[in-house]
Amino acid sequence: MSLADPDMAPVPRNIPDRLGTPAAKILKSWEALLLLVAVAVFILNSFASPYFLDAWSLSDATFNFTEKAMIAFAMALLIISGEIDLSVASIIALASTAMGLVMEAGGGTGLIVAAGLATGLLCGAFNGVLVTRLGLPSIVVTIGTMSLFRGLSYIVLGDGAFRGYPAGLAWFGQGYVFWVITVEMVIFVLLALAFGVLLHKTNFGRQVYAIGNNPTAALFSGIRVARVKMILFLMTGLMSGLAAVCLTSRLGSTRPSIASGMELEVVTMVVLGGVSILGGSGSIPGVVIAAVLMGLVTFGLGLLNVPGIVMSIFIGCMLIGVIAVPRLAAKLRRA
């Protein structure tokens, strides 16, 4: 994750004489493969359990990925720029604790939500300042803040919990916009569109790619590297705050252990979506499909009564597998 690594080996590149047709390019893309796997899992699931193909149970299944995906979109941009944030789950804990404190102080739904979002933004700013102003490696900074943020939550709550959130708050995590379409699902779709446009259609998005590919070159071509990274950390913090609002609303309570281990699932989602962990490449559609795929796998295994911890084996294997298999294949082809 270090910037401007002088030891980066120049990678020999094969530039083809002629580009493939756009259709062929899409068919051969990582996203197409993911989509194929997702469809396969969907079909397998519908055979494996008679309860799967039901509008309401599918609607429930979306909760498996909507909150994580909100963070994953921002995390994707952050990882493409060559940084990482491992503190996102701890930001959720701290933001949720702040929401609880505001509730205890008698704040209404609006204030509670504002507290969650503001805490997320503040945590993101803290990470961002340490990384961009002091020039510290983001992986260590966020391992540190991962302990710090959750630690603050433990200091406030100890082994207790906040309960009794106002009914108005339940709308975010338990509400339906129309029929089986949940509020979280709508937020997910809107954010997917927003981040897709931001990364693929704006100047800012191109700058993110440029920084991830070569921060020094990006700097010398006039990109304000530190500012872009700061914005990305702020975004990741804000999205974690939003996820905290949704999760707290859905669970109806706050414990300091809330969302523990979620950073792993978010990073897995991003990497599974085809974002290079070394930065510089990846796409939002990939992350969207990866989110749905992970939700389907989790839900399908849940229907088969596979315990959560065993599911984490699948997630761990998926994380390593998606990177290992293409590299293994390339190795075998060369040999």
Binding site: V140, M146, L148, L152, L219, I323, R327
Partner: protein, 325 residues
Amino acid sequence: MSILKHRETLLVAVIAALLALIASRFPGFVAPQNLVSVFTDTAPLMILALGQMAVILTRCIDLSVAANLALTGMVVALLNTVAPGLPVAVTILLAIGLGALMGAVNGLLVWKLEIPSIVVTLGTMTIFRGIIFLISDGQWVNAHEMSASFTGFPRLTLLGLPLLAWIAIAAIAAMALNMSRTTLGRSIFAAGSNPHAAAYTGIDVGRTQCAAFVISGALAGLTGYLWIARYAVAYVDIAGGFELDVVAACVIGGVSIAGGVGTVAGAVLGALFLGVIKNALPVVDVSPFWQLAISGAAILIAVAFNARAGRAKGRVILKSAEHAA
């Protein structure tokens, strides 16, 4: 400023000041007997930090150490319930072997497939934890199911120190010898300082990284047995999140996450610093819930120090560029 350049001296001073501060209110804390128990309590962290240091020196990171520890611990605990008569020496060798095997899985993925270590070990961390659940069926192995020799071993005392402390001292000595006097130790430094230069001098960087992971895994396996035997209980979530303490100990000890910089003494002192804080909190009547936040803050302060000490001394041509990057 010169004292700041020696992280070890600084840490010794900080730990001494911390002890003096606590002693001024609670003299009992610095009684030899209590200091021995603090040292013994910190032994697992020190042993793990030694392995983590080797891995970080080669520009990698091992987040799977705590899961490795828990899985090895569960395996030897289950083995003990089936075969209580197994000599402790065999158990320890098995634990080290199993740990090394798991380290080798990490190492091979990093070496042969060149997957970033953070991805590999985040993955194996959850996989190892999941396997514990599968082999134990989610059940606990409790004290009464373990044999007396199994749980008693780390507590046996020799010259006033428990064996657990002696094992930590032996591990520190072995690691110090390895890092300074063997080809492997020197190539670990070389591979981390400048992988390209290392490759030109005939060091296989990937293989060295793999070796570091095996060392880290073996030490985690050893700690797995010691941990389970000491607390006389084994379950899925044992030592959950402990990998962060281990990384924290290294960072506090001045091991640079960018690789190539770090000492055995630094890692050990970093672990001791955290150990003293952890043991002092209940004495000075601060809720143990503060510990997580304190170690987080300690990591951040330490890494800021590291960056200051390690800043390149080359001539700065483009000052603003240097600042922004």
